[in-house]
């Protein structure tokens, strides 16, 4: 046993090839973290169990790497063959020796000064495939780097940044392609999802999240509003290799709070789309919030799992949407199976049989302000949920809060923000945050770990029956079955990222970006 481990250690860095089969079978090598969510299912679950309920109280810092960055750090590091790959805001990439935290190489990108990024020049991570590392940039390029040296192999201009496009999403590498989306829902862009040939950077396909004239769905946009309708794709999706379908969430229609200038359902904003991975052709879609006027992007990581609903075992896509409803959808057909509020909401009396919300009157933004739950931030947001096959629970960082929604003028000018209103959070004793565990096949709440302030960080579940999460600068571990607090560490920095786990020297580590630091923990 021991000899085999040493052998792997010596040989692995020389191999350094993360082929599609390795990512596809990520559960076979839990010591690596090969894609944004840990696997194609979007589960953010580690099957490592060295760190568990019994010993997590002994978790200590292994090393800290400080990122020389001015912007928020949202990255999820990847780990493969002894190397940690991470993006650094705005769009740089660094490779670290995973044993020591010492740098192997960095790719530093120069930027124009007039960037347009609505909410911080951030980046959520890189993708890896074969011997290449991929990063999307805030000036809307996709860049491929040599995984061993960081030397740029190719770069492709995805779109012009001057019209408000940017790339902040971690790309998803699959088969021989790299799938990447765009941000810009606050700039009146026309959203899309792209796939590029991994070897060359050539565009393989583009799926417009807003159909053009003559295409089905274009009639859901009044007049010319489809041209500036938003529906960005700024959070990484999931992939089912058996069905060869890519699942991706789309963002808010633009302008955010003034729906008068874009009457109709506004397809495919606030939706999840299922696309053929080879061609980008739409297999099905499900729209969570038709004609959204509250900025409730469906930019959450879709989670793929199997479970029994309505007396039948099914392949599911589950998601806690920003609009306050939890959904289970048949991921083969797109059929709506279940929808239920998981946080307080006051905008819909419920969902109909097909999952369409039954909207309550007087919930649209007004000049005077309309009070609606949930807030603009939503029941949850971009930060990742997690599904543990061991506990069969879905974990999500939630926010109970409301906003006053104001309508404002909506005049489109290229490269200028296009909000059509504003909002203000309503201070209330009822506001709080929590790490919430839901039963995925019913949406029932199983437990809450209540937070003093709602968090902007995601969760990781592990086979050690733990859920890792963060709030108020504290990184902590909960009992995955009960939500009881088992360990905590105050990092001293704001945490707006997602945890991940890997093996180094045969020991399980858990890492998270906090403040400007990547901090990794192991048992002493």
């Amino acid at each position: 046993m021991k000899r085999a481990a040493v052998f792997v250690l010596i040989v692995a860095p020389v191999v350094a090839q993360v082929g599609f089969d390795r990512i596809r079978n990520a559960e076979r090598e839990p010591g690596s973290w090969l894609t944004y969510s840990g696997d194609y299912n979007g589960r953010r679950h580690s099957s490592l169990a060295q760190i568990n309920r019994g010993n997590v109280s002994r978790l200590k810092v292994a090393w800290i790497y400080q990122i020389p960055a001015m912007h928020k750090v949202e990255t999820t590091p990847l780990v493969a063959d002894g190397v940690m790959y991470l993006s650094e805001p705005p769009s740089n990439v660094t490779a670290l020796d995973v044993r020591t935290g010492r740098k192997l190489w960095s790719y530093i990108r120069r930027f124009p000064e007039d960037l347009r990024v609505c909410c911080g020049q951030v980046n959520r991570g890189v993708a890896i495939l074969d011997d290449l590392v991929f990063v999307g940039t805030v000036d809307a390029y996709l860049v491929a780097l040599d995984a061993k040296t960081g030397i740029k192999r190719w770069e492709t201009k995805v779109i012009d940044y001057a019209t408000g496009h940017a790339i902040t999403v971690a790309p998803l590498a699959l088969k021989d392609k790299v799938v990447v989306g765009v941000a810009g829902g606050e700039y009146g862009i026309r959203g899309f999802l792209d796939a590029y040939e991994a070897k060359t950077g050539k565009l393989a396909w583009r799926f417009w999240t807003i159909p053009g004239p003559g295409e089905k769905g274009n009639e859901t946009w009044a007049g010319e509003s489809w041209k500036t309708g938003g529906a960005p794709t700024w959070v990484t999706g999931a992939y089912d290799p058996e069905m060869n379908l890519v699942y991706w969430g789309t963002g808010n229609p633009g302008p955010d709070w003034n729906g008068d200038v874009r009457k109709g359902d506004n397809l495919y904003s606030d939706s999840v789309v299922a696309l053929d991975a080879d061609t980008g052709k739409l297999k099905w879609y499900f729209q969570f919030t038709p004609h959204d006027v509250h900025d409730w992007d469906a930019n959450q990581v879709p989670v793929l799992m199997d479970g029994e609903i309505r007396g039948q075992k099914r392949k599911l896509l589950v998601t806690a949407n920003r609009n306050a409803f939890y959904y289970a959808i048949d991921r083969a057909s797109g059929q709506f199976l279940l929808g239920k509020p998981y946080v307080k909401q006051t905008w819909a009396s419920g969902l109909d049989d097909r999952g369409r919300p039954i909207r309550l009157p007087n919930t649209s933004p007004t000049i005077e302000g309309t009070h609606v739950w949930p807030s603009v931030g939503g029941g949850t947001n971009w930060y990742s949920p997690s599904y543990s096959p061991k506990t069969d629970l879905f974990y999500v960082a939630i926010r109970e809060a409301s906003d006053l929604y104001y309508i404002g003028e909506a005049e489109y000018r290229p490269g200028v923000t296009f909000f059509g209103g504003t909002h203000r959070m309503v201070e209330s004793d009822e506001n709080y945050g929590a790490i919430r565990a839901l039963k995925p096949t019913t949406g029932d709440k199983m437990w809450d770990y209540r937070l003093h302030s709602a968090t902007g960080a995601g969760v990781l579940s592990t086979a050690g029956d733990l859920v890792f999460a963060a709030a108020e600068g504290t990184f902590f571990a909960l009992d995955a079955s009960t939500g009881k607090l088992l360990w905590r560490f105050q990092t001293g920095g704001m945490i707006g990222s997602n945890p991940m786990s890997y093996l180094s020297d045969g020991k399980q580590h858990v890492a998270i970006a906090a403040g400007n630091d990547i901090i990794t923990f192991a048992l002493d």
């Binding site: 928020k72 990024v117 609505c118 909410c119 911080g120 829902g185 606050e186 963002g251 808010n252 955010d256 900025d295 992007d297 000049i367 005077e368 302000g369 807030s375 603009v376 931030g377 947001n381 971009w382 930060y383 809060a401 104001y406 404002g408 003028e409 005049e411 923000t417 909000f419 209103g421 504003t422 909002h423 203000r424 959070m425 201070e427 209330s428 004793d429 209540r450 937070l451 003093h452 302030s453 902007g456 709030a471 108020e472 600068g473 504290t474 902590f476 607090l485 905590r488 704001m494 707006g496």
Partner: protein, 253 residues
């Protein structure tokens, strides 16, 4: 749109289109009024006479001597205060609000009766205010520091606070009663709090730190404050003098 926290990091347009307000027609002012009533009046009052926010119904606004600076204050808010930014509004909407705010200053200003000099003496002496509040360089730390309170709050709001403090307790003000597992009881003002810990300053100015799992009881005295009502302590004239003194505290240190 990203998470709420991200909205505050939204890069603000730094270059102004112009230095003078291009949207000052009666129609603009009327639309500015509607926007003001919805977004600003909650703190500044329907007529801009102040409250939780400063009195805007005056010809000279200390932070906004010209149109460009008024635009900036509305657009960016005032960092370090409760004045939020309007960074999602369009340029025209900001100018319309600015035009309405300027129109408020054309009305006769609310006179603050009272003798500020005498109010300062009451503040230090009979009122005992310095036991808890710092004004200038001296005073206690239990209550909010009052330097600059005259620029933040309106006179009517201050009067109400003085006479009936519990009618005006801000949601963020945490007055707590906690009991440790060993049976020690501490009552104090929250200095900081997160999910797992809380730090309190007790009435004798001592700071206590607790992990919440060390406490058997955490009670928030919601809507309560250690500040007494001055209704029966000071005469009506003395209350006016103290208000005049507080309104004169414009400078933040």
């Amino acid at each position: 749109m990203l998470a709420r926290v991200a909205i505050f990091l939204f890069p603000i347009r730094l270059i102004l289109a112009q230095d003078t307000n291009p949207h000052t027609s009666p129609v603009d002012i009327e639309h500015g009024r509607r926007l003001f009533d919805a977004r600003c009046a909650g703190c500044h009052g329907k007529d801009g006479s102040g409250g939780r926010g400063t009195n805007l119904a005056q010809p000279d606004l200390p932070r906004s001597s010209n149109d460009a600076s008024l635009y900036r204050v509305i657009r960016r808010g005032i960092p370090g205060t409760e004045m939020p930014s309007q960074n999602l509004a369009t340029d025209r909407e900001i100018w319309q609000m600015a035009a309405y705010v300027r129109s408020l200053g054309q009305r006769p200003a609310e006179a603050v009766a009272g003798d500020a000099m005498h109010g300062a003496l009451i503040f230090k002496g009979k009122g005992g205010c310095r036991q808890c509040h710092t004004a200038g360089l001296e005073g206690g730390r239990m209550g909010p520091v009052l330097n600059g309170v005259g620029a933040r709050r309106g006179a009517a709001y201050l009067r109400q606070t003085l006479l009936d403090p519990e009618s005006r307790v801000p949601l963020a003000f945490g007055f707590y009663d906690v009991v440790t597992r060993k049976g020690q009881r501490v009552r104090g003002i929250r200095v900081n709090e997160d999910t797992q810990s809380i730090q309190l300053r007790d009435l004798s100015d001592q700071v206590h730190s607790f992990w919440k799992d060390e406490l058997s009881e955490i009670k928030r005295l919601a809507g309560k404050t250690p500040m007494p009502s001055y209704k029966s302590v000071l005469s009506e004239a003395e209350v006016s003098d103290v208000i005049a003194y507080l309104v004169s505290l414009k400078e933040v240190r």
